[in-house]
Symmetry: none
Subunit: 206 residues, 4 copies
């Protein structure tokens, strides 16, 4: 689904028949609009037009608006995951470096993809009254932090009296809220990273 060539502008390979480049266009358009206007103010029709496609084409690729938004969220999640994993695995495993690397990854992502995280974290309760399905994005990320905490407890670098799940959520919450407000009030990124790293390291390190 996006292997190489693209007909309209690039070069057009000839394998199969036609390239389903529409989905790619829709994804890009959806991200742009969800970020710019938010979920409620974005109509499927707007996404289609932004993608240069007809209204109906949207429904060829997504069951409904909700499915499109969820796909956007999932994409963002995976992208951020790659960012973080790359930075973290490049650091030594120390608590401080892990945290700093994670924070830097998140801020890098935020800077190169402005607004995406904010849009992707739209409370799911808000996008569909019923069928609240799945675990919210923030909670999933909190669980990943819980995993980190567990690891550091196990290797003796973090306090053993913590409940990793609770502390994982706490860390994620601190990062999230700091990032949101830091962004709003125009704080310098290095200050945010420094303060937050210090804060979290002190909270965790035995």
């Amino acid at each position: 689904m996006v292997q190489a060539a693209m007909k309209t502008g690039e070069d057009a390979a000839r394998p199969g028949r036609r390239r389903p480049e529409s989905l790619g266009k829709l994804k890009k358009a959806a991200r742009k609009l969800f970020v710019e206007r938010g979920y409620h103010a974005t109509r499927p029709q707007d996404i289609a037009r932004e993608a240069g496609l007809g209204h109906g084409t949207f429904y060829l690729h997504y069951d409904d608006k909700r499915a499109c938004f969820l796909a956007f969220v999932e994409d963002a999640r995976l992208e951020l995951q790659h960012y973080v994993e790359a930075r973290v695995s490049a650091s030594d495993g120390s608590l401080e470096r892990t945290i700093a690397a994670s924070l830097n990854a998140i801020y890098d992502y935020s800077e190169t993809h402005p607004g995406v995280l904010g849009a992707a974290m739209t409370d799911e309760a808000v996008i569909d009254a019923e069928g609240v399905q799945a675990v919210p994005l923030l909670v999933r990320w909190g669980r990943e932090w819980a995993e980190q905490v567990r690891r550091h407890i196990a290797d003796g670098s973090a306090w053993a009296d913590y409940d990793a799940d609770i502390v994982g959520q706490a860390i994620l919450g601190a990062i999230h809220q700091t990032g949101l407000e830091g962004y709003r009030s125009g704080r310098k990124r290095q200050d945010l990273v420094d303060n937050l790293t210090r804060f979290l390291v002190r909270a965790l390190r035995r």
Copy 2:
């Protein structure tokens, strides 16, 4: 349930000439429905009927749905503030006690007013596409924590190398996220308070 105040915000209804009964009924009904169904799934008409009033009466007291929601949020904010202030001022001023008292106040409020904080924190971007006005509730609470942090830095009980504003948001974020997910997953309140108190005290105390 809150008759005085009501001028901090923007609605301030009709100042209460004779029987401000209707406003009280509407407030109660609005809180009930915003909590039960959320902002989008609650219609002014539903609020009016729940209050036992005609549909039009709603607009006698609120300019629009948004104003009604904002009034609900403001009320919740003030109520929680009273809870926290009462508990905190009853404790000695130590960092640990202050934090523990705050957390207990928040959890007490959540238990006696189930769902209210969750509903009140509905992202404002969601309730009005344009004119994102006002500072979100969470940020305001974060600022109050920043104030606390500043105090503790001043009296030497907290690390002086912190930027109080950043750390204040971090604390609020940790509390918020922990509370949300703790509620979702049914954690025991004492575990939440204990872990979080430990976490924050270690992060702050010099």
Copy 3:
């Protein structure tokens, strides 16, 4: 539901508050359009406009388009019932007179309410794929004929070897089809009544 006065054009009584004349207007408009265009080609919006009302008003009075159509059918059924009952009870009870009176009533109704019966008999399977509810109008009318047949069998004026239910449907079917096609091809009403009366009387009378 249309008792006397009418505000807009007639005279406006002052009893209660306001007259729910909208429902009456909608009923009239719905009948007109269902008759002229059929169920599928009539949009709720068209009905509202025809009634001189806003789109939304339609949904103040009917849950949905289907409910509106069903109400139209029910009204037509009752009206025809009154026509038939009046004519039949005015005749002596003889088989021939009963049949002729019924047929005349039906043709009178058709002439004074052109197209209504045709529209009202729209197959219900057609108006809603699911929830085929209720017994089709034709079948209900067939049952009323079955009742007549049963009576005539009981008093010895009709053949006792008939199953009244089957024959009731047969009679109704003969009337229906004859009426439809007679209308289409412009047959003289008296010819239809005469032939059909003869046909049914000979079929039934012992």
Copy 4:
């Protein structure tokens, strides 16, 4: 299932150059779906997929959905006609035998092709708001009955005071309605045939 004919109507597809396989598949699929879901709930796309063909192929064989439905109706009409002709010509020409043979043919067809007659008789007003074209199937069948009646009047076996056209429609209506409701309510076929034969014979025979 019907490969010859197909030119009585209006579609006539591509005359069958090479492999008219696709048309056959489409016919089968269309019949299945029109019977199972009805006209409105069946999309050309569904028919094509059911036939194992691409969506576009549908329009290679039919001008539009309506033409496809009409072809289905015509096929059913011809099939039933063959059934009836075979049975009727096998009987002696007496009124009673002719009627009984016809009824049996119809019920045989209904039993071996469940739902087909019901679907084929979908009111044409319903399948196309404008250009009500063509004579409805029922009316055409009514005319065939009129022909029978004329014959029996001519040979003296039926009352001469009947207008054959009117009575033909009446007969067809009685058969149709009885069949529909008999099917719905699960009447035994023999009862239906017996009662209806008696009913019609008595109505007609001088």
